[in-house]
Symmetry: C2
């Protein structure tokens, strides 16, 4: 089947109603575009599990802070549609901000209904340095779920906090779909694939894989019984390239994102760094 | 058909899936129980418009403030189910707080995902004296919409701010249903029917109809060309029983709840008062 590109909500809703009437299952892959092999793995997983697949491509203004990279975020719609087609996506939904949030509206919680994840899930990790970010994420994802009415929605494990927050939203609001987490896709040298990797200079790109190497080192130590945070943190700093600035390295419980008071083999190890002015995140399970 | 009483989300979802598969339309009437002739009018409207009707009965803890009447709010489930049956309701959904929000969870936005209406819609009228109230309303209504997947949901015009905020939520979040507003039902003496009227002493009950009389007086003056707020306010105070304390009398635009800078025939006139320790609200359109 040919991949169709829709720009309006009503087109998607109409197509979805048609599919539902025919008893077909729907998979949704929400993305901000600049699609890469990480997204491809999500789209292929959706293609395998569902009768019909929608991939959304929308750089969501309300999840970017005032000093973040909304304007320079890569936009590559033509290539995105091509890759989506190769992965068997049926519909690419690429709305404008106006289509999603209305004309001339001030994009703030003064005038828009927001979906707000619990404070305890956002006052840490990426949420700490990006106030309001996850409100914006939950709001747009909630809208996309209502627009595409998916049975399954596919999210990468790379954005671990986002994944756990969205699962929490689906549970708390009794939404009628299942979240399917998909494993992180890595470059050959271990760097987690991300649209923001394109911001890195050639020199910085060479240093970036030490983020994953640091995670592996920490995991290795934990599996040997080390549970002292300072020792684990030092070992990570030793492995990270000296030009990389650590924002956080934490050990969290995957069920509720709480920071573990005692490091165990069950914790998710999450990291955020800055390199060459670019913010990178990654994570790993101790038992991987 | 017999009216069925369900206490769990999964029972309702299963029944709804069955109905959807059969291509039936669903109407939802969300209530806090203590059903009266106002609710009956909603249930009958739903019965008329939809193939199947769900009425929910749930005193929602997260929309009550710490000093409000959550504990003493009337609970009359047996009578509610009877009235729902007489109105042709198919399913009464009466969950426990634990069923809706999980076991032992602190009912706050520390641990729960909330749906938050825009500040500009809640920083006035009832929202001003009830901080967080409409967050609680939107959150529970959003949940109920996901649980019952209605094509139509029926709300009384008495809670005008609530109605406008919920319509805004449905629009902002692209939810797949239509909100059907239903006219205020009044006692013979004009008092708007409300579950909270039962709190009134016999003496206070006799004074309560002056709330509606005050609205009628204001409407009458506006239709005669009076547009001065002070004059309109004074005329209302003259009609209100002297034991009634006015919380607000406002003239709002129905589309976005903005307070009208110039009073016109198109404004909704909204009022809130305290009488005998009981908070009462009412509203009226100048035309009609």
């Amino acid at each position: 089947m040919e991949t169709v590109l829709y720009h309006t909500i009503s087109e998607v809703k109409e197509k979805v109603r048609e599919w539902k009437r025919a008893g077909l299952t729907i998979g949704l892959v929400p993305t901000m575009g600049a699609l890469h092999i990480g997204h491809a793995s999500l789209m292929k997983a959706a293609r395998e599990k569902c009768d019909r697949v929608v991939a959304s491509v929308f750089v969501n203004p309300i999840q970017f802070g005032p000093n973040e990279d909304f304007d320079k975020y890569p936009r590559t719609l033509e290539a995105d549609v091509k890759l989506a087609g190769e992965c068997g996506v049926d519909v690419v939904f690429a709305p404008s901000p106006k289509e999603m949030y209305g004309e001339g509206i001030k994009l703030s919680n003064d005038l828009l209904t927001y979906v707000c994840p619990p404070f305890d899930y956002v006052d840490k990790l990426c949420g700490k340095s990006r106030p309001g970010h996850f409100d914006g994420v939950c709001t747009v994802v909630n809208k996309l779920f209502n627009i595409a009415s998916p049975d399954f929605a596919f999210f990468g494990e790379k954005d671990a906090q986002q994944l756990i927050i969205i699962k929490k939203m689906v549970k708390d609001l009794n939404m009628n779909l299942e979240i399917v987490p998909c494993p992180i896709v890595r470059e050959e040298d271990g760097l987690a694939v991300s649209s923001r990797n394109t911001y890195l200079s050639a020199e910085a790109r060479k240093k970036a894989p030490t983020v994953y190497k640091a995670l592996c080192e920490v995991r290795n130590l934990i599996s040997k019984g080390v549970d002292n945070r300072e020792i684990l943190l030092d070992s990570a700093l030793n492995v990270l390239d000296k030009d990389i600035e650590l924002e956080y390295l934490e050990f969290v419980n995957i069920s509720d994102l709480s920071i573990s008071s005692k490091v165990t083999l069950k914790n998710l190890i999450v990291i955020a760094v800055k390199l060459d002015g670019v913010r990178l995140i990654d994570n790993i399970f101790p038992k991987g």
